[in-house]
Subunit: 183 residues, 2 copies
């Protein structure tokens, strides 16, 4: 079931994949998928092997004022990576770098579960959402790669507060600032 | 010889590693290392399996005015990744994510061959160099991960000019702008 779910989410995205089709591919009854995983949401988290549930982490971020959203997102990302889930997230990153299907799955997870919700919570022209979201992702992904994978100093040893102060304004600019946007 | 060189550069850095010590570890004469690889510089590039030589790419970047250096660095990174070396660079990234020794080697390559030279070419307090360089790296690494590994749209299909316009100002701010620096 998980293999079928991974293939479906990677190929058709979170919205496009259906439990019915996943069950058919896995040659089981859809009720069995529901029994084991509950909602499509939970099946998706299991398929990605997501080490943290954005549903539990995002509400606090989205409750901050729009002009403090950049700092709040950076802080959330650091809290997850500095916590016990780090080895599991590193495994996700490794898999995404090694396998294209895994990169697709991680991309869909970041898009559907984090990026779209963060940019969707801010008042902006609809056509700017994807590109502002991708720019935010570029800075956040680079921050975690630099700090946790390359372990480049002084970012590897910087405190969360210091990183929020240095990187937060970049994320804020991508979210709400004056950016010469592609497209 | 290459295995000994990789271990030495990863453990002691580019400046700390000597051809004499590498030759001793590999149990060969230092003259043989020189014969095969020429300078320590060339040996380092071979050890990292560097798909491009920063000595050939950086002079053009460093010749730009300091206030256009951010855009120039972004443009250089995109030119290398959009060129024929992409599979080789992707292999480097994969290796760095999979093996800690490889991450150390890539970090040392980025530091000694690119980052320190870019920040060293700009007038700033010495104690700001490492942190500004690491912040620049965070945005550039994130840009390439987002565009080439995750292939997140619209950044994956954006033109180099569009990316320079959107991301260049961030790199410029990290290089010369008003940043609340860690430490």
């Amino acid at each position: 079931m998980l293999a079928a779910a991974r293939a479906a989410f990677a190929e058709r995205g979170f919205d496009g994949a259906s439990i019915r089709a996943i069950a058919a591919t896995a040659d089981v009854d859809p009720a069995l998928v529901h029994h084991y995983f509950g909602t499509k949401d939970k099946l998706f988290l299991a398929a990605v092997a997501a080490p943290a549930d954005p549903d539990e982490l995002l509400p606090e971020v989205l409750a901050t004022p729009a002009d403090a959203r950049g700092a709040a997102v950076v802080r959330m990302v650091l809290r997850v990576w500095d916590g016990p889930a780090r080895p599991a997230i590193l495994a996700l990153v490794r898999s995404a770098v090694n396998h294209e299907w895994s990169a697709k799955l991680l991309r869909e997870f970041l898009l559907a579960k984090i990026i779209r919700r963060v940019v969707g919570s801010i008042d902006m022209p609809v056509e700017e959402r994807d590109v502002r979201g991708a720019l935010v992702a570029s800075q956040l992904i680079g921050m975690v790669m630099t700090r946790y994978v390359l372990q480049l100093e002084p970012l590897a040893s910087a405190s969360p507060d210091e990183l929020v102060a240095a990187v937060g304004p970049t994320v804020q600019r991508y979210l709400t600032g004056d950016v010469d946007l592609p497209g």
